[in-house]
């Protein structure tokens, strides 16, 4: 509604210009000369244009300030990671510096345009250079830039340094058009190898069963669970085209590149539950999005992220069945010497139905257990 009013007022402004300028062209028509620099400068329209710059600046400043305040409730959604809060602070610091520069320079530009508009029998000041002035305004931006770069660089260095030892490594794999996650499992803390050539309908991540670390690996899609206050290392890869993991609330973004695993580590320090209380929105969910165009479903590669306390997380993890247990027919792929170790992961009901080969990986393995959080 407000916007409609804004637009209407704009239309009226435009109409006003139209009428004024029409008038001047009529007046000019009376003279009937070819327009020259002087006649244009001395015309009414020159004064109108000069005045409009002033009006534009004042109206623009008010509109910008008002709309900024109005829109700011949606800016930078509440950060839930320490590094995110740090970069948010840097963002607003930089933003205030550039806002000052923005207002001052635009003000001068429009004010000078208004103030020094053409006057008859007046000469502009011949003022081709002033080295001192130029030096000043070269040095000031350089110093400000240096400070901003330095603070930014320190933040960047901290964010991109190696993940801490105790970080929970989770693999997140992008494909057209959803994300799949793999957890290292409860028995060993290691993600098993993978090979894209092993990918098939059931083994959608190409898990390599010649590596014993992969026996207890757990795969899920649709939602990612992570414990609060524990560093999480995302091991990111893509199966088909480029994707990009974007977790807006965590200030996390990293491309998923086929053939080149990437990584990003962060600490989530607010559980989903805490955010629900903080935002007052009982349906709040952390979300994972894709920010690298990847095809027609690019806009809907949504996965939810559930941040929970360590106990809930461990409980959830314990309820997950390893991928191998869910796909027992793949036991045949385990090399002879590791068969004994793998036997542990055979489903209790050893006579698994043979036709389960055809069934794709169950989507959303944790769906029922975490219903309260969804």
């Amino acid at each position: 509604m407000v916007y409609l009013v804004g637009l209407l007022s704009l239309v009226f402004l435009v109409l006003a210009i139209l009428v004024l300028t029409r008038l001047t062209s009529v007046l000019k028509g009376v003279n009937g000369d070819t327009p020259t620099q002087e006649s244009e400068g001395a015309s009414v329209s020159n004064r109108v244009n000069g005045f409009l710059f002033l009006v534009f600046f004042v109206a623009g400043a008010i509109a910008a300030a008002w709309s900024f305040i109005h829109a700011s409730q949606f800016f930078l959604p509440e950060a839930s990671s320490p590094h995110g809060r740090h970069t948010d602070n840097l963002f607003w610091l930089t933003m205030s510096v550039i806002t000052i520069a923005f207002v001052v320079t635009n003000a001068l530009l429009f004010y000078f345009a208004f103030k020094y508009q053409y006057r008859k029998n007046h000469r502009a000041t011949y003022y081709p250079e002033n080295h001192k002035l130029e030096l000043i305004w070269t040095v000031i931006p350089a110093v400000v830039m240096a400070l901003l770069v330095f603070t930014g660089w320190r933040a960047w260095r901290d964010i991109t340094k190696e993940a801490p030892e105790n970080a929970l490594a989770i693999e997140i794999v992008g494909k057209q058009f959803n994300w799949e996650m793999r957890y290292p499992g409860v028995d060993n803390d290691k993600l098993g190898n993978y090979n894209y050539k092993l990918i098939d309908a059931a083994n959608s991540l190409g898990i390599d069963l010649e590596d014993e670390s992969s026996f207890d690996d757990v795969t899920v899609s649709n939602e990612m669970h992570i414990p609060v206050n524990r560093p999480v290392l995302l091991k990111i890869r893509a199966k088909d085209v480029l994707h990009s993991v974007f977790i807006p609330h965590m200030r996390v973004k990293m491309d998923a590149v086929p053939g080149m695993p990437t990584r990003f580590w962060f600490v989530a320090d607010k559980t989903t539950e805490q955010m629900r209380n903080e935002t007052g929105n009982q349906n709040f969910k952390y979300e994972i999005a894709c920010t690298e165009v990847c095809g027609q479903g690019h806009f809907s590669m949504r996965t939810t992220l559930i941040v929970e306390d360590e106990d809930s997380y461990n409980k959830w993890m314990a309820e997950q069945k390893p991928w191998l247990t869910k796909n027992p027919e793949y036991l045949a792929r385990v090399p002879e010497k590791l068969k004994a170790k793998a036997a542990k992961y055979a489903p209790a009901d050893a006579a698994a139905p043979a036709d389960s080969t055809a069934a794709p990986v169950e989507e959303g393995a944790g769906a029922t257990t975490s219903a309260s959080l969804r």
């Binding site: 435009v14 210009i17 300028t21 327009p35 620099q37 400068g41 329209s45 244009n49 829109a71 949606f74 930078l76 959604p77 995110g84 970069t87 963002f91 930089t94 933003m95 550039i98 923005f102 320079t105 635009n106 530009l109 020094y116 007046h122 502009a124 011949y126 081709p128 250079e129 002033n130 130029e134 070269t138 830039m145 770069v149 660089w153 960047w156 964010i159 057209q176 894209y196 190409g206 199966k239 990009s244 200030r251 996390v252 491309d255 590149v257 086929p258 053939g259 080149m260 990437t262 349906n283 709040f284 969910k285 979300e287 999005a289 920010t291 095809g295 027609q296 690019h298 806009f299 949504r302």
Partner: protein
């Protein structure tokens, strides 16, 4: 003033002499012309044609973004199958439109349209040359561009649709037809078109550089060249160095697509099968692409800044402030443009250490840019400003340049870029600083040099209205996009309904779309004014803006060879406006100091002795008449 008149008078005499010059056939004169002025017009009309297509595409996808529930059944006569059964825009076609909008605007409008028009038109006229160094190569350059345009245009009509992977065409998406239908024939046409486009750019660029270096008239030293020419020269150098890299990037992609190589492809499982490609790197493509892609930003922007420098000085009736600083900052920008490309790739998985380096280099570029902005503002200070439409657009350009440039300080900071990368903040940033600013450069140039192009004036009142509607409209479109970006909305999303985090701002998106349609509509004022004035505009004076540069010493309709008699020599810099003591408030470049003793500065009196020497030179105009 006196000299200008004498010049005009002598021109009239010479015109008679050369009227019997052999008449060229229609085809040689207007189609396969080697005359830089005709080629410039060809580029201008092509650029305007492409701008209409590119802008229409943006209106179409703004409809989808602003009114996600609208049925677009009424567009079925134009778009056919691209409207799906439910009357909505097809999701892949949405991406195709975004891609084609970017490609068309960046390459076909703001590179070919802007540089092609004004470098071609102004370089010979402002440096004082009969034509380009090679008229033939110049003609080839346009016709290669035309061929590339035909290919790109035809890709809009094929069944599988044009290229759809974003204007940056990152592989593997662009390499694999099974990934999206636009990566089939559409992508093949895109790559062929761009390869030919690059050939055209290189032919043009070589010509611009050669002409500026070799064909300047007597006395036109580099320190007396108008800033427009400096800008065009640096633009051409940027293009000459960076476009070949895009060509190799495109060629390797063609190999990957058609010959089974693996430059960019590795470990891909798509469409139910694992591809055999191993060892390629999609990041390699991004490096190669942005090695052009970033200089490209300046290829687009520098000519606009050059045009603005000239127009602001002329219409402020003041010398441009800090002429040497302006040149130095353009050289600085041009140099830095080559070593900042990876700031587009902070979160692509590139080594974070490289990210640090590129952040430092990127933020250095803010310094020369700031100097340019300050110099423009100071040029207005204590001027005597005439608001011609060209002047209005130039002031608008400076405002966009500042507003859009400042947010670059945020995006160039790798730590802040994590959140904002590939969001609408980026869209807002580059549309202001390179899109709108360069488009304003183009419009300012058209308004300013229209009398030289066509010998007639455009209607200034319509120009004023066009400016205000466009200026307000563009701010209404792109200012709110910053808000949407700060809220984290990703680019190239067909709809924002899937995510809770992006479900806000529906009304703002609608507002932006309305503003975009409003701005688009306002351009028809320009189109009408432009085409009407070509035929019916008021007859222009020889030097309607009382400008100093050489192009205004040519006859109203310069013939082949530009000057009927000898090319005038140049004695002074192009910015002697409102010189203290001078009788007129401008002294053209071809007026010797010996004729203006009343206004000469002390060191300029010393230059009078050199005038004979300048006049005696004759490197480039042996026949002293067009031939």
């Amino acid at each position: 003033m006196a000299t200008v008149e004498t010049n005009a008078a002598s021109s009239a005499v010479h015109v008679e002499e050369h009227d019997h010059h052999e008449e060229l056939s229609f085809l040689r004169k207007y189609v396969f012309s080697e005359d830089h002025k005709t080629i410039a017009k060809q580029y201008m009309f092509s650029g305007i044609f492409w701008a209409i297509i590119g802008a229409s595409l943006s209106v179409l996808f703004r409809l989808q973004l602003g009114f996600p529930n609208m049925t677009l059944e009424w567009l079925r006569p134009i778009l056919g199958g691209w409207i799906d059964e439910s009357g909505k825009l097809d999701k892949e076609f949405y991406l195709a439109m975004v891609t084609m909008h970017g490609t068309i605007m960046v390459f076909f409008v703001l590179t070919a349209g802007l540089s092609g028009t004004f470098s071609n038109f102004l370089i010979p006229l402002q440096v004082g040359a009969r034509d380009m160094a090679s008229g033939f190569l110049n003609m080839l350059s346009y016709w290669f561009f035309f061929l590339s345009s035909v290919l790109m245009f035809s890709s809009l009509f094929i069944e599988t649709g044009p290229a759809s992977g974003g204007w940056v065409i990152y592989p593997p998406l662009s390499a694999l037809p099974q990934a999206m239908s636009g990566s089939g024939l559409g992508m093949t046409l895109w790559l062929m078109s761009m390869a030919i486009f690059i050939v055209s750019q290189l032919l043009g660029g070589i010509n611009y550089i050669t002409t500026v270096i070799n064909l300047r008239t007597r006395g036109m030293s580099f320190s007396k060249m108008p800033l427009t020419i400096w800008a065009f020269l640096l633009t051409a150098i940027l293009g000459l160095i960076s476009f070949p890299v895009l060509l190799s990037a495109a060629l390797l992609l063609i190999f990957d697509r058609s010959m089974g190589t693996s430059f960019y492809l590795s470990e891909i499982y798509i469409g139910g099968e694992a591809l055999p490609n191993i060892g390629g790197s999609p990041i390699l493509f991004q490096h190669l692409f942005w090695f052009l892609g970033h200089p490209e930003v300046y290829i687009v922007l520098l000519p606009a800044l050059g045009i603005t420098s000239e127009i602001i000085a002329t219409n402020s009736r003041k010398p441009i402030f800090g002429y040497r600083a302006m040149i130095a900052s353009m050289i600085g920008i041009a140099f830095l443009a080559f070593i900042v490309w990876a700031h587009h790739m902070f979160v692509t998985g590139m080594n974070p250490f490289l990210g640090s380096i590129f952040m430092f280099l990127t933020l250095i570029i803010a310094v020369p840019s700031a100097v340019k902005a300050f110099n423009y503002i100071t040029t207005l200070w204590r001027g005597n400003i005439v608001f011609t439409p060209a002047m209005l657009f130039s002031i608008g350009l400076v405002s966009f340049f500042i507003s859009g440039g400042l947010t670059g300080i945020i995006l160039g900071n790798s730590a802040l870029d994590i959140q904002l990368h590939d969001t609408y903040f980026v869209v807002a940033h580059f549309h202001l600083v390179m899109g709108a600013a360069s488009a304003f450069g183009f419009l300012a140039g058209v308004y300013h040099w229209f009398p030289k192009f066509f010998g007639r004036m455009m209607n200034p009142t319509l120009g004023h209205i066009h400016f205000w509607l466009t200026f307000i409209g563009i701010y209404l479109v792109f200012f709110p996009l910053h808000y949407i970006g700060i809220a984290g909305f990703p680019r190239r999303y067909y709809s924002f309904t899937t995510y809770e985090a992006f479900r806000t701002f529906g009304d703002l998106n609608m507002f932006v779309s309305i503003a975009a349609i409003f701005t688009f509509t306002a351009q028809f004022i320009f189109l009408w004014n432009f085409f009407y004035s070509i035929f019916k505009g008021r007859k222009a004076a020889q030097n309607p803006w009382n400008s100093n540069t050489l192009e205004w010493t040519t006859p109203l309709h310069p013939g082949h060879g530009n000057w009927p008699g000898e090319i005038p020599p140049v004695y002074r810099w192009p910015y002697d406006y409102s010189k203290p003591g001078a009788t007129s408030d401008f002294i053209p470049q071809n007026v010797p100091y010996s004729q203006t003793p009343e206004s000469n500065l002390p060191h300029e009196n010393a230059l009078i002795a050199l005038e004979k020497e300048i006049e005696a030179q004759n490197y480039n105009d042996q026949f002293k008449q067009p031939h």
